[in-house]
């Protein structure tokens, strides 16, 4: 059931070094791609694989690549998004730290496919120690002739640059990332023009997530069809899931897309169940931005079928009863967790991280934080829940970038599914603000 496309060799001692990685078959995809394939054929394989962007939006990677403009005499850029700042997500950190050469191999193959001669890995600045790991790995790959001028005698040149961020969630948004890479504040750009036409330095640019790029060596070695044979429906391949919260085995797991959510939570191979003596209350399945679901809805669809870990199954039911796979940040809450407090915490996060360009987001996130704060601290009013939903609606869809949506969804979904808990805070402020108090009313725990 569990195919290991990315993490097969992760436990091999010394895998972070070039020599060990090479002995495990590393860099064979570069040899195959550069010596035997054309860039067009590579794009075609990635298209066939059906692999979708792993940064959160799930846009088909091959299609994105095929949109890249190719005007004569203008450089093209590949930028890897390693900003990983979505709360609940820590898979790129894990992958880069343990398998730096996998990302570098993927960057070489992908850059060759796109005709880029200078490519960037933009890593959140807090991960400076990972930046040092990547720089060391790049130096090793260069010394072995896989980077630099005339790679493997093919005439193809590639330079890889690791760029640190400065601490700003918004720089995970691709156009804010490009601004940041140009040495500016991370203010997202209006689209169009899309990065594929005018990206870094106003040149055609592809931005892909670390995990997306890391799939390419396997796709080159095994073919797009083999990749597409794994997974389910339009959710092809495997996905790294960052599992956190009240589970027995937090960590990063590579799963075949299509695994039942229930198995992922309870099987010993993955989360290993809820911590002893406790029950499942809710899950945020795809990073803090996606709608929170109560236990019964994350496990099962409304028709009674099991919900699966796939793009389609997680979003089944729309926002009424579904959510999204997002970045795969899987946050598990047991009955001791206070949904109001967590929603306030997330709202505070988005307010703090809003870049401030668009007033609906700048002001709206501030209002949501304030109103949630007063509910949590026992000063809520009956009208506050409608007010929150109203503010969330006014942010959604009215901003340059989707940070506004990402701020609105967690609030709207928490009220949708846990309204009684919010009302309990408002009507029983004294009880609700006692240390360690949590709502114990009607809830379907699993």
């Amino acid at each position: 059931m569990a195919t290991k496309i990315l993490t097969e060799h992760i436990a091999v001692p010394g895998i972070e070094t070039f020599d060990v990685y090479r002995k495990q078959g590393g860099y064979e995809a570069v040899e195959k791609a550069i010596k035997t394939m054309t860039p067009e054929a590579l794009v075609e394989e990635v298209k066939k694989s059906g692999v979708r962007g792993r940064g959160g939006a799930g846009f088909p990677m091959g299609m994105k690549w095929s949109f890249l403009a190719k005007p004569e005499g203008v450089p093209r850029y590949l930028v890897c998004n390693a900003d990983e700042s979505e709360p609940g997500t820590f898979k790129d950190h894990y992958l880069m730290k343990n398998l730096p050469h996998l990302l570098i191999e993927g960057m070489i193959v992908s850059s060759f496919a796109l005709g880029a001669n200078k490519s960037f890995i933009y890593v959140r600045g807090e991960l400076m120690y990972v930046i040092h790991i990547l720089e060391k790995a790049i130096a090793e790959a260069k010394a072995a002739g896989f980077l630099g001028k005339n790679i493997l005698g093919s005439g193809y040149d590639l330079e890889l640059i690791v760029q640190p961020g400065g601490g700003a969630y918004i720089c995970g948004e691709e156009t804010a990332l490009l601004e940041s890479l140009e040495g500016k504040r991370g203010n997202p750009r209006n689209k169009p023009p899309f990065p594929a036409v005018k990206g870094l330095y106003q040149s055609p640019t592809v931005v892909n997530n670390v995990e997306s790029i890391a799939t390419t060596p396997w796709i080159v070695n095994n073919g797009g069809d083999a990749y597409a044979a794994i997974g389910i429906g339009r959710s092809t391949g495997t996905k790294l899931i960052s599992a956190s919260g009240h589970i027995n085995r937090p960590g990063v797991y590579e799963i075949d897309l299509g695994l039942p959510v229930e198995d992922f939570i309870y099987a010993d191979e993955w989360c290993g169940g809820i911590r002893p003596g406790h029950k499942l209350k809710a899950v945020v399945a795809g990073g803090s931005s996606v709608p929170i679901l109560p236990a019964n809805l994350i496990m099962n669809l409304t028709n009674g079928d099991k919900r699966l870990m796939s793009y389609e199954s997680l979003s089944e039911g729309g926002f009424q009863t579904g959510t999204m796979l997002g970045s795969g940040g899987f946050i598990v809450f047991d009955e001791t967790a206070c949904i109001v407090r967590n929603t306030w915490n997330f709202a505070r996060f988005y307010h703090h991280e809003s870049c401030g360009q668009c007033s609906p987001c700048r002001e709206g996130t501030g209002w949501m934080e304030k109103v949630l704060h007063r509910i949590e601290y026992g000063h809520g009013h009956q009208q506050d829940l409608d007010l929150l939903i109203d503010v969330a609606k006014k942010i959604e869809g009215n901003t340059i970038c989707p940070l506004g949506d990402a701020a609105a969804w967690p609030v709207a979904s928490a009220i949708r599914h846990f309204r009684n808990e919010f009302e309990w805070h408002i009507t029983n402020p004294h009880e609700a603000t006692q240390p360690g108090a949590v709502y114990k009313g009607d809830m379907a725990l699993v």
């Binding site: 450089p75 990983e84 700042s85 979505e86 709360p87 609940g88 997500t89 820590f90 790129d92 950190h93 200078k118 959140r124 600045g125 807090e126 991960l127 400076m128 120690y129 040092h132 330079e159 640059i161 760029q163 640190p164 961020g165 400065g166 601490g167 700003a168 969630y169 940041s180 890479l181 140009e182 040495g183 500016k184 504040r185 991370g186 330095y201 960052s242 599992a243 956190s244 919260g245 009240h246 937090p250 960590g251 990063v252 803090s288 940040g329 946050i331 809450f333 967790a337 407090r341 967590n342 915490n345 997330f346 996060f349 703090h352 991280e353």
Partner: protein
């Protein structure tokens, strides 16, 4: 690029060499891309990003000082005010809170006798609250310079403070 400058703050020779190599990575005319990396170098050297240092970075990159200030104040990693010897950057985001992050944080503040944004009177420690550090499965988490301290408990916090105080 000029290396002669009247600034009171300048990079050490090794850092200047590093800075020069960083600037050379970008296409001609795009040296401003080196701004974030150079601000990190400045902070590594000075412990924070004083105005004289930012002016120096502006000179190195041949840009206006305001272009440096507006960037340094946008990104949360740059300390634009003086800080203690060790800055404890404590993750306050949801997943860490689920793992007892708020209780451990209360202990940390009590142990040091300061709140977020403050520095101990001996100048040893500053506490700064930060958002998710991409280590949520190992929460609670804080960071001091490049090092991540994970799976924190009150006892572990005491040990770390003792170690850093030496």
């Amino acid at each position: 690029m000029t290396t002669e400058t009247n600034n009171t703050i300048q990079f050490t020779p090794e850092r200047l060499e590093k800075a020069t190599a960083i600037i050379a990575q970008y296409p001609a005319g795009k040296q401003k891309s080196a701004l974030l990396p150079l601000l990190h170098l400045l902070q590594e050297q000075e412990g924070w990003t004083p105005a004289e240092g930012m002016d120096y970075v502006a000179e190195l990159l041949d840009i206006e000082p305001i272009e440096v200030y507006e960037v340094a104040t946008f990104y949360t990693m740059y300390h634009v005010n003086p800080v203690g010897k060790h800055v404890i950057e404590y993750c306050r985001t949801g997943p860490c809170c689920l793992m007892g992050g708020e209780e451990v944080y209360a202990h940390l503040r009590q142990r040091l006798g300061i709140e977020a944004g403050q520095t101990t009177v001996d100048g040893q420690f500053t506490i700064k609250e930060v958002e998710c550090l991409a280590a949520c499965g190992m929460g609670p988490v804080f960071q001091v310079r490049e090092k991540y301290y994970m799976n924190l408990t009150n006892e572990r916090v005491d040990e770390i403070i003792d170690e850093l105080s030496k």
